[in-house]
Structure formats: structure tokens, C-alpha cells
């Protein structure tokens, strides 16, 4: 840590690597940054893990652990965390409850709407209409027809195969008998 003149306006907020200097943390914690400097520092903390960790460490440190060395020793102690307004916690939880209520109300409403629409359609007979039944019957009838046709064709094919084999068998028998007949005549 360098020694300084106590003139914060001359302090460098960023080092040559682009990280926050210890002086920058000191000025931030003492609320001595101007608006543009605050913006620059917040911009850096929004993406730099190293500097954010250093900042939160300084904020949450015990009072004994000092801020970066300063000429005025009375100001070198890290101030405690600020006390938030007492209604902050209640306000946050109220907003969350309100948000949850709205969320569940919207979800419940859409579910109820879907259920009532289904009931209306059901009672209107859309799921048991004669048209629908006819279509299902047509479809089933078509399926029956095709299965019957397939059965007919398969039985026809098996009959043809049977005919073929019986014809083959009778030819074979005929040939055997015709071969034996001349030999018997020669004797």
C-alpha cells in the first residue's frame, strides 16, 4: 500500500490491470465517490469476481480489520454495515406473497377454464357424437374387410400349393410305373 496525501480526488481508482485499487474501495465504503466514479466502480464490480470478493470482505470484516492505510488513523477502520429501514424485510416478503398469489391465481384460473371447457364439450356430446361413432365403425369395417381378404388370399395360396404338390406326386408315381412296365414285358 502506497502512502498518500489526503486528497481523494487525486487517487487512482483503477490499477494498470484495470482492477480496483485499495483507494477505490476506501472511497466507495466512505461514500466519497462522485456519481461518475460510482458508476465506473459499479460497472467493474458487476463482472469482476476478484474485486467483488475484496469489497464484500471489506464490508463484512470485523471492525478491527482496517481499510487500506490512510493518513488519518481514525478513519482507517471499516465502518459497520448499515442498518436497513425496519420495514424493508416486511415489504420484500409482502411483495413476494403478492407475486405468488397472482401467479397461483393465474394458474388456477387457466386450469379452471380448461376444466370447464372440457365439461361443456363433454356435456354437449362432442366426444360421443354419431358422426364420430360412424367414423370409428367405418374404420373398423375397413379393417375387417382387409383382414378377411388377407385370409381368403392365404387360403387360396395354400390350396394352390397343395394342388402343385399333389400334381407333382402323381407325375412321379406315373413315371415309376412306366419305367417298371417294359422290364416286366422283357422277362
Amino acid at each position: 500500500m502506497k502512502s498518500h496525501d489526503f486528497s481523494p480526488e487525486t487517487w487512482e481508482l483503477f490499477d494498470s490491470d484495470g482492477h480496483l485499487t485499495e483507494e477505490a474501495f476506501t472511497l466507495l465504503i466512505r461514500e466519497q465517490l462522485d456519481k461518475l466514479q460510482s458508476l465506473e466502480v459499479s460497472e467493474h464490480l458487476s463482472y469482476c469476481d476478484r474485486c467483488l470478493e475484496r469489497y464484500t470482505d471489506l464490508l463484512c470484516a470485523e471492525p478491527a480489520s482496517a481499510l487500506p492505510e490512510l493518513p488519518d488513523p481514525l478513519q482507517a477502520v471499516s465502518p459497520p454495515l448499515l442498518e436497513p429501514p425496519c420495514e424493508l424485510h416486511t415489504n420484500i416478503m409482502n411483495q413476494i406473497q403478492h407475486r405468488n398469489r397472482v401467479f397461483y391465481f393465474k394458474k388456477g384460473t387457466s386450469l379452471a377454464l380448461a376444466a370447464s371447457l372440457t365439461l361443456v364439450l363433454w356435456s354437449g356430446g362432442i366426444f360421443s357424437s354419431t358422426r364420430l361413432q360412424e367414423r370409428v365403425q367405418d374404420l373398423l369395417g375397413g379393417l375387417n374387410y382387409s383382414s378377411q381378404t388377407i385370409l381368403e388370399h392365404t387360403s387360396e395360396i395354400s390350396e394352390n400349393i397343395d394342388d402343385f404338390f399333389s400334381a407333382l406326386q402323381s407325375r412321379w408315381k406315373h413315371r415309376i410305373t412306366s419305367n417298371h412296365a417294359p422290364q416286366e414285358g422283357n422277362r
Binding site: S38, S42, T56
Partner: protein, 179 residues
């Protein structure tokens, strides 16, 4: 996380969040609003948070909320200031009717390019590196963001502010040189 657990979470970190917001905006009521926004945002995303240390996570959300607030406040101020300056410039251009002055001004512009480079090199961080890469090395914002490890949007806003700093310096230099 249940509401009861989140309530404990708020109780644990409300001091830290409020302190961060206050140190940036220095306004009690605005810090309170930003703290509320921080916790509401945390509630929306807490179940998708992968890490186990909530402190840096909630501190980053608070810093981002403060940054967004300061950024919009800065833009409001700059736009107002620009409007005023534009009015003055328009009035000046109406008064300045001597065409003979124009070639001299062109010459000055060429001469001053070296001075502008010097101005860029003598800028402070976080603007120096960004401006060198953009104006002297002609990198685009995406490349600069990758090279410096900064978000693209941050690079853009830093360039925007750096331009106005440079413009101000150039104007001041011009007025000082004028007899």
C-alpha cells in the same frame, strides 16, 4: 426455496445489500427501493443458482441494480447537458459565417490527430485500454470485450463515456489555443 427459508435469507443479507446500494447511490429511499428489487430478483432466480456461497451472488445482484440506476441517471444528465450544448453550438454556427476560416480548421483537425492520440493514451482506466483498442487499433466492441474480459455492453458504455471525455478535452484545447 420456501418463503420461510427466503425470509431467513433476507434477514441474513439485508444489511449487506442495503449497505452496497446506499454506498453507490447515497440516497436512503433509493437504496431501499434497490434493495427490494435485489431481493425480488434473487427470489426469482435462487432455485437456479448452482453455487453454495450466496454472499457474492447477492452482492453482485445489488451492484448490478445500483449500476443500472446510476447508468440511467447518468444518461439523463448527459442528454440534458447535450441538449444545452447543442443549442449553444447551433447558435455559434449561425453566427460563424466566414467561409475563409474553414480550410484553417481542416488543417487544425489534421494537425490535432496526433494530439488526440496523445489524449487517448493519457486517459485513465477504465477508458484507456478500451479507447486504444477501439480508436488506435480499430478493434470492434466484441473483440475488445473478449480481450479485456469485460461484458460487451460495458465496453460500449465505456466507449460512449470516453468519447464525451475526449470531446470535452478537445473543445477545451481548442478554446485554449484560440486567441
Amino acid at each position: 426455496m420456501t418463503q420461510r427459508e427466503f425470509s431467513q435469507f433476507v434477514a441474513q443479507y439485508e444489511k449487506l445489500v442495503f449497505t452496497i446500494c446506499y454506498q453507490f447511490v447515497k440516497d436512503y429511499h433509493e437504496a431501499q427501493n434497490l434493495s427490494q428489487e435485489t431481493f425480488l430478483s434473487a427470489y426469482r432466480h435462487i432455485d437456479s443458482y448452482q453455487g453454495d456461497n450466496y454472499k457474492p451472488w447477492i452482492a453482485r445482484i445489488a451492484t448490478n441494480k445500483a449500476k443500472d440506476y446510476l447508468n440511467s441517471a447518468y444518461h439523463r444528465r448527459v442528454m440534458l447537458a447535450d441538449d444545452e450544448e447543442n443549442t449553444v453550438e447551433t447558435m455559434a454556427s449561425v453566427k460563424q459565417t466566414d467561409p475563409a476560416q474553414q480550410p484553417d480548421e481542416l488543417y487544425i483537425t489534421r494537425e490535432s490527430s496526433h494530439q488526440i492520440e496523445q489524449m487517448i493514451r493519457s486517459l485513465k482506466e477504465p477508458y484507456r485500454e478500451v479507447c486504444i483498442l477501439r480508436f488506435l487499433k480499430e478493434k470492434d466492441t466484441q473483440e475488445i470485450a473478449l480481450l479485456l474480459g469485460r461484458p460487451k455492453k460495458t465496453v460500449e458504455t465505456q466507449l460512449y463515456r470516453a468519447r464525451s471525455i475526449l470531446q470535452k478535452q478537445i473543445k477545451e484545447g481548442y478554446h485554449n489555443e484560440k486567441p
